[in-house]
């Protein structure tokens, strides 16, 4: 991935709150990241960490109310996606930015055959006529490895298996040659052997088509195998961000370190007992004024209670939002 290249997607200080009867939930707090052309950015976090809401916010996919995208900029193709009108945004969604959702079962329309659903973006965004769209739809199904593509176009979603349905979803997302593909837990609902098929397909498609990908998951194993860079989210914030080998080899945030220790592995050493992260994820009812991880952190000190740590640059594209410096074993300077 060229280092000096301009980012295709540049998100700065994105902030999203949900208005509920009990008050405001601060789901995304000042999230910033840049996506370079052709790279795969992995976003890891537990449920409620704000990873999906971040991606939905930047495409205007959240219903408002209750959601309120309160601040930040999302630069894509010279425009700020948070400011453009609905018409422009519609042209971007499903056109230049493709989206693959988690559950292929519920995100396809059961009453239309898959051909119609793949052709929809082609006709809306690219203005193709019916015949050309059908031809392109068939090519797409072949691209994602569905055998007997021409006949399968007339099949309905229920006639496909989970893995095949997810391939159809990927075909729809790829229909208009997107510059950016956002995949939200695309393999979570699938079995491991089918997941391996989809991961292999994604690697192949990336080298063939060269688009940038944002891959959201809670599975660190998937990220290790597919990502170039990784962003770890916790409590609606980015807590650590680094190139993939650096993140797994040299994690700096206490949350990342704990997370890597809690998961058992297939090949490595088998621990007699799993390391656990005590406590529960934070309830984000207040604007963050302290570190969201402090209650569960083993190196927290008084400053973590008073201030929310910014992301400290650690060099080589690595940053971590923590007042504790794991390299020196002491607090970081103000």
């Amino acid at each position: 991935m060229p280092d000096g290249a301009l980012p295709v997607l540049d998100v700065r200080d994105l902030k999203t709150v949900f208005k509920t009867r009990a008050g405001e939930v601060h789901a995304v707090n000042d999230v910033s990241f840049a996506l370079k052309p052709g790279e795969l950015l992995g976003v890891v976090g537990e449920s409620g960490s704000g990873k999906s809401v971040t991606m939905m916010s930047l495409l205007g996919l959240l219903p408002s109310p209750p959601a309120d995208v309160r601040g930040g900029t999302v630069t894509f193709g010279g425009n700020d996606l948070l400011k453009v009108d609905a018409e422009t945004l519609r042209a971007v969604r499903g056109g230049k930015i493709g989206f693959v959702f988690q559950d292929p079962m519920t995100s396809l329309n059961p009453v239309f055959n898959v051909g119609v659903q793949i052709m929809e973006p082609l006709r809306k965004h690219m203005g193709l006529n019916k015949r050309d769209a059908a031809k392109r739809a068939q090519e797409l199904l072949e691209l994602v490895g569905i055998p007997d593509a021409q006949r399968r176009l007339k099949d309905y979603p229920h006639q496909f298996s989970g893995g095949m349905r997810q391939r159809v979803m990927i075909a729809i997302a790829l229909a208009c040659d997107p510059q950016v593909l956002i995949a939200d837990e695309p393999t979570t609902a699938l079995d491991v052997t089918i997941q391996a098929q989809i991961l292999e397909l994604m690697k192949e498609l990336r080298s063939k088509l060269g688009m940038a990908v944002i891959w959201i998951t809670h599975d660190l194993g998937v990220i290790a195998g597919i990502a170039d860079r990784v962003m770890v989210m916790y409590g609606g914030q980015v807590v650590e961000h680094a190139p993939v080998k650096e993140l797994f080899g040299n994690p700096q945030h206490p949350y990342t370190r704990a997370l890597l220790k809690t998961i058992p592995t297939i090949h490595g050493e088998r621990a007699a007992r799993l390391t656990i992260i005590e406590g529960q994820p934070p309830i984000m009812m207040n604007a963050p004024s302290s570190c969201p991880f402090r209650d569960r952190c083993d190196v927290a000190f008084d400053r973590c209670e008073r201030e929310n740590p910014p992301r400290y640059d650690l060099g080589d594209g690595h940053d971590a939002a923590c007042f504790f410096d794991a390299r020196t074993g002491g607090p970081r300077d103000a």
């Binding site: 537990e46 449920s47 298996s161 989970g162 893995g163 095949m164 079995d191 491991v192 052997t193 089918i194 997941q195 391996a196 098929q197 991961l199 292999e200 809670h218 599975d219 660190l220 194993g221 998937v222 990220i223 290790a224 195998g225 993939v244 080998k245 797994f248 080899g249 704990a258 997370l259 890597l260 809690t262 998961i263 058992p264 592995t265 297939i266 090949h267 490595g268 088998r270 621990a271 007992r273 799993l274 390391t275 656990i276 992260i277 005590e278 529960q280 994820p281």
Partner: protein
């Protein structure tokens, strides 16, 4: 004999268990076929051990777990728990057996009654099966809540006030209420976040030690099963294809399906990840209502031979303590059996 070592006593013995669900179709709802969800499985669970049962969705592992507890009326086979045959016992007579065998369900949201307090949920098995006084029951509920790490003060709250991990603890406390010997854990951590999964798994291990429990641990998470199980059984399309002690299975899987399954698990370490040889299986699992002729895995097997498409391989002990059903291991092995 299916036991690995002869000194251990099997607490649960399952032989040739079959669970077929009928398919009805047409105007007259005639029986047109059956889904062979579990199609002839045999295994033992030793006293005090954890037998991991792994496989992909639809392979029949949950059905198998439920059938072992006789939550279904099974199609055929024998199940012995604690020296009592329960394969053909009528449901009415099974009630008195229920305290010995309990279950922890996958979805803590769906398996707790939202209109009952935590205390009422954990107390229900005591109401049903014991003649304790109310005060004794309440004391027992308190002890159970301590054992699973829930604060006694929350006994009067309803399930919605708890997080997913805590709800799973409530489910575990309920399963423990009658001092069972055998607990079937059906994907107990699948609905939980990674950092919470480890908490629940450690709790299950502690309780096993404390109360001498025996688990059948059903999961699709192969790395977690490697952590918790003593022995592991791998299911594919209604049948056990391989059963082996944990270390042996993960170090050297024998059956081609186990090999592919293990190689498909993503490794959370980029340096190891490069070294792992992936076996990418082609195609999907066939339908259990119409399994292929011969070996069930022959449609996707990378090492398929002619005989696999004709003859179903026997499930047998190919090495001490290691069972598999595969033609690859059928000739060189006449001495071992």
């Amino acid at each position: 004999m299916l036991d690995a070592s002869k000194d251990d006593q099997p607490l649960v013995s399952v032989r040739d268990l079959k669970m077929h669900f009928p398919i009805y179709a047409g105007l007259l709802r005639r029986r047109v076929g059956e889904v062979k969800a579990v199609d002839g499985v045999s295994f033992d669970v030793m006293e005090g051990e954890t037998l991991g049962l792994v496989g992909e969705s639809g392979c029949g592992k949950s059905t198998c777990g439920r059938a072992v507890l006789r939550l279904y009326d099974i199609t055929a086979g024998s199940i012995t728990i604690d020296d009592r045959e329960i394969g053909d016992t009528p449901q009415g007579q099974l009630r008195e057996m229920r305290p010995t065998m309990q279950m922890v369900f996958q979805d803590p949201q769906a398996s707790l009654n939202p209109r009952m307090t935590v205390e009422a949920i954990i107390k229900e098995p005591l109401d049903e099966h014991t003649s304790l006084t109310d005060a004794e029951k309440r004391e027992k509920v308190g002890e159970l809540m301590d054992a699973v790490g829930l604060n006694r003060k929350f006994a009067k709250r309803y399930p919605h006030a708890f997080s997913g991990g805590q709800r799973q603890r409530i489910g575990i406390a309920r399963a423990l209420a009658l001092n069972p010997k055998f607990i079937v854990c059906d994907e107990p951590i699948a609905a939980l976040d990674v950092s919470i999964q480890a908490q629940v798994v450690n709790l299950l291990e502690d309780l096993q030690e404390q109360f001498g429990l025996t688990y059948l641990f059903i999961s699709h998470d192969l790395s977690m099963v490697r952590h918790i199980a003593t022995r592991v059984a791998v299911m594919y399309l209604g049948k056990i294809v391989e059963l082996a002690p944990r270390e042996a299975l993960y170090a050297e899987p024998l059956h081609p399906y186990t090999q592919a399954l293990l190689s498909a698990v993503p490794e959370p370490d980029p340096s190891l990840e490069d070294k792992v040889e992936r076996i990418i299986l082609q195609g999907d699992v066939p339908s259990p209502s119409n399994p292929p002729q011969g070996c069930n895995f022959c449609t996707r097997c990378p090492a398929v031979m002619d005989i696999c498409k004709v003859e179903e391989p026997d499930y047998r002990e190919v090495r001490p303590g290691r069972f598999t059903a595969c033609h690859l291991y059928s000739d060189n092995n006449d001495t071992a059996g």
